[in-house]
């Protein structure tokens, strides 16, 4: 089926080449970073994780969102999702690959990557993160590919695929639970030390992921002959709505505990992020953008009129995606390190090489997504022809 990715319109090829150029630039920046060390990034002794890990935590959520189509279809027979489970699984493949790449570009000694396997350490959450991420990647490759192939050959998928699907559902929950556990068990980081971290991850994942899936479905509908289906998109929109509401609710919960208890160590990170601390306020505009976009999205989504109209739905989904990207992809990780263990503030801002490498990883994700979606769409077009 991969041969389907080698034939396409001029627009398809321009897009692919554009992505390859971005990947090249990102790769070049990465070589520069390998050469000089992570000094070329904006990370510091105090803020030792930055954009890379932030993006990793965000895209883990996006990857898990495949389950939001798979679960209703396979467990509750919501037939409308049948057309798009493959799109969810292929999105998961692209997203998990981005996660793994973000971790690799963040490492100080990437050539020693396999030490995590050779010296397996079950008491380290990072070890489990590696296992669940790679496992999820493998699951989605096997499931997505085989389901698509079966559809192409007009047969039911082999029985073992269904068993893997059932495994992938709790596994999807595990990838962001484990990623949340990565940060929610660290004694010195009060911003992260909250029991609802994994729940927050789930909520924002199920908002941002399906939102992206809707955006991609609308793109597929516009530029190809395949229609994911009105009902499928409407149902997804409903899921995004509830997930967005819950996400916002969870953020409010955090604010309450911090500010009603008035305990400095609980408040400081939120203060820094949303108001600035000791004159430092780098992150404030981004966090308010997150808040404003999230509320706009919620309003557009709750109102059935705007939710069911494609153009307003598109705006709402973009708003959801961007706001969650800001909150998880930037605010969460940076906020954990500020103020530092000595209650001092060292600010963080990504540098140009860091941004170019991030762009390169996004481009790789988009490239994988493009190729896989091209294959899926071509197969579905062929079947329906």
């Amino acid at each position: 089926m991969l041969e389907k990715a080698f034939s396409g319109s001029k627009r398809y090829w321009s897009w692919v080449i554009f992505l390859l150029v971005l990947i090249g630039i990102g790769f070049g920046s990465y070589l520069y970073q390998l050469n000089k060390g992570l000094a070329v990034t904006g990370m510091s002794r105090d803020v030792s994780w930055g954009l890379y890990i932030g993006q990793f935590t965000f895209f883990v959520g996006v990857a898990a969102s495949a389950v939001m189509v798979v679960l209703p279809y396979y467990l509750h027979n919501v037939k409308e999702f049948g057309r798009i489970t493959v799109f969810g699984e292929f999105l998961a493949i692209a997203a998990v690959t981005m996660c793994l790449l973000f971790i690799i570009v963040d490492l100080g000694k990437p050539m020693r990557l396999f030490n995590v396997l050779i010296y397996a350490t079950p008491h380290s959450i990072m070890f489990w993160d590696m296992i669940v991420l790679n496992g999820y990647l493998l699951l989605n490759i096997l499931i997505g590919w085989n389901v698509l192939e079966a559809e192409r050959n007009a047969v039911a998928p082999p029985k073992w695929v269904k068993k893997l699907v059932y495994v992938s559902i709790p596994w999807a929950v595990s990838i962001h639970t484990v990623t949340a556990f990565l940060i929610s068990g660290l004694p010195g980081r009060h911003y992260w030390l909250t029991s609802i971290m994994a729940a927050r991850f789930l909520a924002s994942a199920f908002a941002a992921g399906p939102a992206l899936l809707i955006i991609l479905s609308l793109i597929v509908k516009k530029f190809t002959k395949f229609n994911p289906g009105e009902t499928a998109i409407k149902k997804l929109a409903l899921i995004v709505t509830y997930a967005t509401i819950i996400s916002i609710f969870f953020v409010i919960l955090e604010f309450f505990t911090a500010f009603y208890s008035n305990i400095p160590s609980h408040m400081h990170s939120l203060e820094y992020l949303f108001a600035g601390l000791e004159g430092h306020s780098n992150m404030v505009p981004f966090m308010w953008m997150f808040a404003v976009l999230a509320v706009i999205a919620m309003v557009l989504l709750i109102n059935p009129g705007t939710r069911n109209k494609e153009n307003t739905l598109l705006i709402a989904c973009i708003a959801v995606f961007v706001s969650m990207m800001l909150e998880k992809g930037l605010g969460l990780i940076i906020g954990g390190f500020i103020p530092n263990a000595f209650e001092k503030v060292t600010e963080y801002a990504p540098t140009l090489p860091e941004l170019l490498i991030t762009l390169g990883v996004w481009a790789i994700g988009a490239f994988i997504l493009t190729i896989l979606y091209k294959v899926a769409v071509s197969v579905k077009e062929e079947v329906r022809a």
């Binding site: 002794r45 105090d46 100080g108 380290s124 990565l182 010195g188």
Partner: protein, 249 residues
């Protein structure tokens, strides 16, 4: 032997899976370091009352261990440094701390905790707690530079080599290695000096004997004596890390 292509591939896959699980046996086999345990528990008491204006301990430590001197605060590497009271003990500060205490320098270093968060999170055990003497060691050969330990440490005791450190080392100590870019480093309680029966460099260098070092498991050691005779506090004791560094205030 009659085997279908499918069967052959299944067999190969199972074999590969088995090989891939080999590291698990190391995990299940448990820890097999054959060190005869002297059962030491190295600890340090910092008598902040005796701390003067000098930096002798810091200079001694950083020179002995080839710690680079990087001007940039964001990329600096420090194994031992000074903080003011309000930053060293943020949960103990209040509005009416006496002037002397406000100005006094407090030496900060890795606490070599008994229950270290950094060791708990390290995915390769590149940082680990030595059973024989309780030192939280760094294995620079194994560190992948993921900086999870830096996120885990509640005391900000660890530094990352954002740069290649060598250009920043003025006077290299040729009996001790340097590190490379990409690994995390920190105070090691001078394990290499302890092995030869010396005291840590900082302890020796202090002109006022403000740093007292010894074995907590030896009731007659100097640290135990000092701990019996003085009121001491620790950094962030409520976090349960059980540091091995105590402060006389």
């Amino acid at each position: 032997m009659k085997i279908s292509r499918r069967g052959f591939i299944k067999l190969t896959g199972a074999g590969a899976l088995g090989l891939g699980l080999l590291p698990v046996k190391n995990v299940l086999a448990g820890d097999h370091s054959n060190v005869t345990s002297d059962g030491k528990r190295w600890a340090m008491v910092v008598d902040s009352r005796k701390c003067g204006e000098c930096n002798d301990c810091i200079v001694a430590c950083h020179k002995t261990h080839n710690v680079p001197e990087i001007d940039n605060k964001e990329e600096e590497i420090k194994w031992l440094w000074k903080e003011k009271y309000e930053h060293a003990f943020p949960s103990q500060k209040h509005d009416f701390v006496d002037e002397d205490l406000k100005k006094r320098p407090f030496m900060m270093l890795c606490n070599h905790c008994d229950n270290p968060a950094c060791v708990r999170v390290c995915p390769t055990q590149a940082t680990f707690k030595r059973k024989s003497d309780g030192i939280v060691m760094m294995d620079y050969h194994r560190c992948i530079g993921c900086r999870y330990c830096m996120a885990g440490c509640p005391y900000g005791a660890r530094s990352f080599n954002f740069n290649d450190p060598r250009p920043f080392i003025e006077e290299i100590n040729k009996t001790y290695p340097t590190r490379t870019k990409g690994v995390v480093e920190k105070c090691n309680f001078c394990a290499e000096r302890l092995a030869k029966g010396s005291l840590p460099a900082c302890v020796e260098a202090c002109p006022n004997n403000a740093l007292i070092f010894g074995d907590l498991n030896d009731p007659d050691s100097e640290v135990r004596k000092v701990l019996r005779e003085h009121y001491t506090i620790q950094r962030k004791p409520d976090l349960g890390t059980r540091p091995s560094v105590y402060y006389i205030v």
